[in-house]
Symmetry: C2
Subunit: 708 residues, 2 copies
């Protein structure tokens, strides 16, 4: 193996440039962001040294003591290794040595973890995924100090820690290592990086090409398959963030040790595209919480510190620097040093957040995530494929962010990560019974059953079709359709963001049209965040006993607060969120009900958050069109005790169906009218015409917009 | 009248120094904080000028269009007046002139406001309080430009705006003007400031001494009576903040025009003491939301910008500068300029937030607000008097803040201020039926009735007794008692904050002992903020139908989620708030239940926030002692996916009653023990003894603390 850093010896660092590391240390004081990392790492490692060596026999599941201790240890090995390279202080190499010698005593003795919950038992941890993560970090820390150890210690650690762990994760775990899955990526990266450190081509080749080295599995195959051509990861943003780190860190190792592989150019630069896309999957720095996601995950996370630094090293794209500024953190490595230095030099440029259509699937033909952005608002329409076991049954779901807040929400996952009292931090039963179910989302539910009847295998085989996308201008719009979610049912949804002068944020129009082979019940839920302040829909409240909405598929978790009957003028509700008003107005289909409910029923262990939802319901119909308008307006300033625009500025919302188009008319209180026309045809630029209030209107292509 | 600013003419400014204002303008650019105010005011006034004169005939209640427009107008008159003085630009005096001439057309024609809801109808606004606020601001704006107007305009505005409004608020409103109440303070200030501006000694004297000028009413009397000797305002922090402004601004006017009155030395400097106390009534800048309070009120409010600047002008106390830094705002006046200048000069010192006992009542003998502080935690025990019509029935209630968050909460008021759809922004029906009721607080409820049976007159006559207060050191403690809240029932409560090594925040011990002449039901609610993660108390959940807890006195608003029976070891619940765990552990009295409930029942208009509460309940007992321990522990970092200390560090909580003392023993998991002893005797330093686990312990005074 040739090494880009020119490490000639068989023990010098290969994952980091010794020279760059030394230089980072020498100049650290000039760059606050890097100096802070140095100080933080010193403090943490010194605290660990104070606490002494603790390498317990594995016992506890996630969140438990031995689990957390082994996590702390890999972090400490990693940090101390880097500190040694950066500062040259021997206390740090001594600490890495002591820890790894303790592991050399432990590792060879380990069998499957006693708390293992499934077939992918780890050794140090309850699942082998954590072992891979351990090894990715430990390999980096070890690489940094390896040439400071005696040949004897080095041999012992090589054999009894790294070879043992690499063998366990590769040859002994083919069911993980040869999968196409992010757990496999972690295992590939761990084994491959160990290979570089141990100068073992065999390990590297297995990592790149699978155990049989044919390329049917392994890291390159993961790069081919796990990301869509737009850099979207099938499981969604939460796991994309997590999956990204082994891709980034192993790619960097490959680049350093086998530059001839041009890994950052592989598949049109998919690693860098995946990094940029990961950043696009955020609002105000927080990831869209679709699928099994923890809602508190932001770009302020180790994976993204590394990704930003690596991408900046490879591309020099100064837009990445503004992300690092928001993060307020850099990695403690030469690539992080460069980020800190160039931010200090004032090179940061705004990151180009934009409306984007991110195709899903390895070939980009399995639906898409449609993101519509304006300066004040971000709309996400989830027209993606299922996304494996962590996917939710939420085809054609949508989310809205406005004014810095989540307004139309996604529950995320039902889980208290790393909190032992909540089933050891694992996914809770309510993740299946509520969080994954269709009713927990903002999309159509037919006959109180979830999409694909909640069956993962069926879901995996059927993706929605992204029919049209227009990002940019005063009318941004996305149309998608699916006919496989329910037998005999097709539904198509167009969501449009209309910028209207006088409004700080766009108005959002939602047209969902469903047809069913047999009469059915159609529910369209909207999960919103805020306090109801005006419920114009005539309704009856359940004041002294709240019934439960249904019996299964998530319905059993909803308390019914009130049931209303919207009419053509009493057709809206207004809520208040962080000083801004949101009016949700509907064109009620004949006989429609509006149900006001709250999550939390059938939840004996208080596992669910309690959040409001309103549901438009039509029963016993063969087809239905739900037309809704979400209007952000006004401002309530509690501190200054001032309020403006608390009333909706919309006087009427009208909907007409023509032979081949949908027409939505918004009449404003000031007399203006905005008309959105949506042709059934999605391709080409054929001309369509409708008559609106006796006046002919024509447009080319899928949609038209007429302001008068 | 002599004027401190040396205004010789009969039209020059008397409420602001013309020379200082000019100087502020000349040097503004050097001081960012002041320049920002100047820019903001310019922008706002210029927008108002753009929008044109709008002085509508009064019609709407609070939050309505005419209400908001007249509010904007007084703000604009005030700002434009100051801008004229600071910049010398005529466009600003012209604007004030035009607005006031429009008011000169309107004011003489006005009768009682058409939307008036009670006997204190205003003219421009639905209640005369708003008219007073209007006049306080308009007088300042007018004063600043008065010498720039023609004698004719001046005469017209003097007569048709200021004399009309001053007469309405004084001679024509004796029922307001002569009251002892903050509405009267506003009226006094408005009339008195108008008096200075118009050079009318008669108006000033009435403002200072009441309509009959005997001193039985008026501003000086308000100063005698409305604040306690510790500067605590009877209605509580929310209204204290609001009440403060007329005191401060009128005192400043008196000082400028009648310095011989030495108004800032009046009653041992009560105005300045009230300002300092107002600041003490906050956590993280937010006011304790006791009584009728909006929870989003912080020190970032106009009243406090003025108070801080005035106090700094009078005292030069540089601790006030750090408050202004937190506010990020200064008043657009010379006193605000001085604050901005001295902050820029680096003179700011930390404000001395401290444990404080704030006595209530004009003579300080009507209970007290006890505040216990440590660097990470603030505990408030509400042992005050009722505090008039905005008071809640919450004697011996407590609140806890920890780690930057509200942990043991107070609902505040049920009101959506200035939101028209919510009953015009007025107090909602639920303010009486829920927010004021005892069960909505963290204090004892007997037989499901509120304190004083919810009767304000009875409540006003009976205050709790603050028996003991120790602020400072490792054990801070407050003891209070009341025997008038329920006939035949006396209850005493000690709350202590115990600093324990190894804990970031203190542990809180709560001992509440009640005796009743007849057997009764005792409920002790705890309203907490966070998500339950461990409910160790054996309980039965109401999974599919939630009953309502009771029928009246607030109980009708609680849904019952579960009912539990704590035992001596299964006696705790743990919740998570912002990454920190809180374990609430009790020594269950014999037969005690623990009820888990949520607000929101019998709330057809969605007026209530939905918040959790747990209730310890003992039925059919003549006396009861509730002993509870609240333990903040551990850290959950969702971003880094790490968790430490999620389990309580307490192994056992024990309680013993001796002949004359309560003994609480906390046994930690690491084997340490902390014992708190509380003698019945609260005075003197008599020695008390108890035997604990066979070992004699003695202490002097009300309480003892023994760590072993
Ligand atoms: Zn979801
Ligand atoms: Zn209250």
């Amino acid at each position: 193996l040739a090494n880009a850093h020119g490490a000639e010896s068989t023990s010098g660092p290969v994952l980091i440039s010794a020279r760059d590391a030394t230089q980072s240390g020498a100049q650290a004081q000039q760059y606050l962001l890097f100096q802070q990392e140095l100080d933080r790492a010193r403090k943490e490692v010194e605290a660990a040294i104070q606490a002494g060596i603790q390498v317990p026999t594995p016992k506890d599941p996630g969140g438990g003591d031995t689990h957390e201790q082994h996590k702390r240890n890999y972090k400490s090995i990693y940090q101390a290794g880097l500190l040694y390279r950066i500062t040259g202080e021997q206390q740090y190499s001594d600490w890495v040595r002591s820890l790894l010698l303790a592991y050399a005593d432990l590792c060879p003795k380990l069998g499957p973890h006693p708390a293992a919950a499934n077939q992918t038992a780890g050794r140090l941890f309850w699942q082998s995924l954590n072992d891979s993560v351990w090894l990715v970090h430990a390999a980096q820390g070890y690489d940094a100090v390896r040439d400071a150890l005696s040949a004897q210690d080095r041999g012992r650690i090589d054999r009894q820690v790294f070879r043992v762990m690499a063998k366990f994760l590769s040859d002994d775990s083919p069911q993980v290592f040869n999968r196409i899955h992010n757990h496999a990526t972690w295992a590939n990266a761990a084994v491959g990086m160990t290979g570089y450190v141990l100068r073992d081509t065999e390990l590297v080749d297995k990592a790149l090409l699978g155990l049989d080295k044919t390329g049917k599995a392994g890291f390159l195959k993961q790069l081919d398959v796990l990301f869509s051509p737009d850099g979207y990861y099938a499981e969604g943003p939460y796991y994309q963030r997590y999956a990204l780190l082994p891709f980034v860190i192993f790619a960097q190792a490959i680049q350093n040790n086998q530059p001839e592989r041009k890994i950052f150019e592989y598949r049109d630069g998919i690693v860098l595209e995946a990094i940029r896309t990961t950043i696009q999957l955020t609002y105000d720095g927080y990831f869209f919480p679709i699928n099994d996601a923890m809602p508190d995950k932001s770009l302020r996370t180790d994976e993204l510190y590394q990704a930003v630094a690596t991408a900046y090293q490879v591309t020099g794209d100064t837009a990445l620097l503004s992300i690092a500024q928001w993060q307020g953190r850099v990695v403690l490595a030469p690539e992080g040093f460069a980020v800190a230095r160039d931010i200090a030099a004032g090179k940061a440029q705004p990151f180009p957040f934009a409306s984007r259509l991110l195709r899903d699937g390895p070939r980009g033909d399995q639906g898409a995530l449609a993101i519509l952005r304006t300066p004040s608002q971000t709309l996400v329409m989830k027209n993606t494929a299922q996304g494996m076991g962590h996917g939710h049954f939420d085809k054609l779901n949508w989310l809205l962010y406005d004014n810095g807040n989540s307004i139309v929400t996604d529950y995320g996952s039902a889980r208290f990560l790393n909190i032992q009292a909540k089933q050891g931090g694992r996914y809770l039963r309510e993740n299946d019974s509520w969080a994954k179910q269709t009713i927990a989302h903002n999309t159509l539910v037919v006959n109180e059953r979830s999409h694909f009847n909640g069956d993962l295998k069926t879901a995996e085989k059927n993706a929605p079709e992204q029919l049209f996308f227009a990002g940019g201008g005063a009318t941004q719009l996305s149309t998608a359709e699916i006919s496989s979610a329910y037998p005999g049912v097709t539904f198509r949804r167009t969501i449009a963001q209309l910028t209207i002068s006088g409004y700080e944020s766009p108005l959002v129009v939602d047209v969902l049209r469903a047809t069913s082979a047999t009469p059915a019940q159609f529910d369209l839920p909207l999960h919103y965040s805020g306090h109801l302040i005006n419920l114009a829909v005539p309704h009856k409240s359940n004041v002294a006993a709240r019934p439960v909405l249904g019996r299964a598929n998530g319905y059993q978790h909803l308390w019914v607060d009130a049931v209303g009957a919207p009419s053509s003028d009493k057709n809206f509700v207004t809520w208040l969120n962080d000083g801004r008003f949101y009016t949700y107005r509907v064109v009620p289909p004949s006989g429609a009900q509006m149900i006001f409910a709250e999550s939390g029923a059938n939840d004996p262990n208080f596992n669910l958050r309690r959040e409001p939802v309103l549901i438009q319901r039509v029963t016993n119909a063969a087809n239905v069109t739900f037309v809704s308008l979400l209007e952000p307006h006004g401002r309530h300033d509690g501190a200054n005790e001032t309020t403006v625009g608390s009333q909706s500025g919309v006087r009427a919302l009208r909907y007409t169906r023509t032979a081949d188009a949908d027409v939505v008319q918004i009449e404003l209180a000031d007399g203006r009218n905005t008309i959105l026309t949506i042709a059934d045809a999605v391709d080409g630029d054929a001309t369509h015409s409708v008559n609106i209030a006796g006046r002919p209107r024509s447009w080319q292509g899928h949609f038209g917009r007429f302001d008068q």
